[in-house]
């Protein structure tokens, strides 16, 4: 019986499996989103600086609203732009 190390595949046997999307705040127990942290908030906006929809980010409704509030506060304080291009 060949061991797992001896078997080599031409294409990835895991191909086609769907990655389960989850709310990262619920999963890791993060309760507060800091508006002063642009690097963290960049995950939730696209290259034009617009907020990403919930179906893309996987956030639950509660945390998507908190993210939106945080991004808008950051925009007011010029930590994030309102309009941009090639942001990432």
């Amino acid at each position: 019986m060949a061991s797992r190390e001896d078997i080599k595949f031409l294409s990835n046997p895991n191909i086609g499996k769907k990655k389960k999307k989850y709310c990262r705040f619920k999963k890791f127990g993060i309760k507060h989103i800091d508006y002063k942290d642009p690097d963290f908030l960049l995950q939730f906006i696209n290259e034009q600086g617009k907020l990403l929809p919930r179906r893309i980010t996987g956030n639950s409704l509660k945390y998507q609203k908190k993210v939106a509030v945080a991004v808008k506060r950051a925009r007011h304080l010029a930590i994030l732009p309102y309009v941009a291009d090639l942001l990432k």
Partner: protein, 223 residues
């Protein structure tokens, strides 16, 4: 006793003394009104995401305070508006999670953990100092930069570590890095690293010439 946080941006063209006094006047105003200042943080000179008053950068300050009389907020905001040195300000009421978050941030509990890439806001452990000097494991044939990282995260940092690690331990360490790494044949790494540890680079070079991609199987399966 509510917690509030005010972030404001001071004009950067002023001298650093003027900037500091500008921030201090507001923190003094708060203490005069009977507020308890939890923290006065200077986030420093930062580039603005868009120009404000034709300026492209500003000095950010963040004051966290508690008060029983919320009327002070209106007073302070009025002073901010009148003051020409302040470009923007934002006052926020903090809920209990925000208060805890700020507290953890000051204590240094918030930061990237070493093992997994959790989000920054999660309260994971901070990086610890590595007492042992890390050696370049990529000199071993069969070990590239990614595998060196995977080994480092399992505690194999120097040539002597790699030499001392048994075959099973190496396989375990690779498996921890991910299923793609278990393909790699680590049987000769211990031998190679023993030579490297002793500084026998000539012998190591000879050995690597005879090896083929880190495995001692003669004739590889190249197609």
């Amino acid at each position: 006793m509510k917690n509030y946080e005010v972030t404001f941006i001071v004009d950067p063209v002023l001298s650093s003394d003027e900037i500091k006094t500008a921030a201090k006047t507001y923190s003094d105003m708060l203490t005069d009104e009977g507020c308890n200042i939890v923290d006065l943080g200077e986030l420093g000179l930062k580039q603005l995401a868009y120009p404000i008053n034709r300026r492209n950068s500003g000095v950010y300050y963040c004051i966290e305070y508690t008060t029983t009389a919320p009327a002070v907020i209106a007073k302070m905001e009025l002073a901010f508006r009148r003051d020409e040195r302040i470009m923007r300000f934002l006052t926020i009421a903090l809920d209990k999670y925000a208060v805890k978050f700020n507290q953890d941030k000051r204590d240094g509990k918030i930061g990237l953990s070493r093992k997994k890439d959790d989000d920054e806001a999660s309260s994971s452990t901070t990086k610890t100092e590595k007492p042992v000097k890390k050696q370049d494991l990529t000199k071993i044939e069969g070990v590239g930069p990614k595998i060196a990282e995977v080994l480092a995260s399992s505690g194999i940092l120097t040539y002597s570590d790699l030499a001392a690690a048994s075959g099973d331990k190496l396989k375990e360490a690779l498996a921890k890095g991910g299923s793609s790494f278990t393909m790699h044949d680590s049987s000769t790494w211990a031998e190679q690293s023993k030579l490297a540890d002793q500084g026998k680079w000539n012998e190591l070079q000879k050995m690597q010439d005879s090896l083929n991609g880190g495995s001692s199987k003669v004739g590889s399966e190249e197609e």
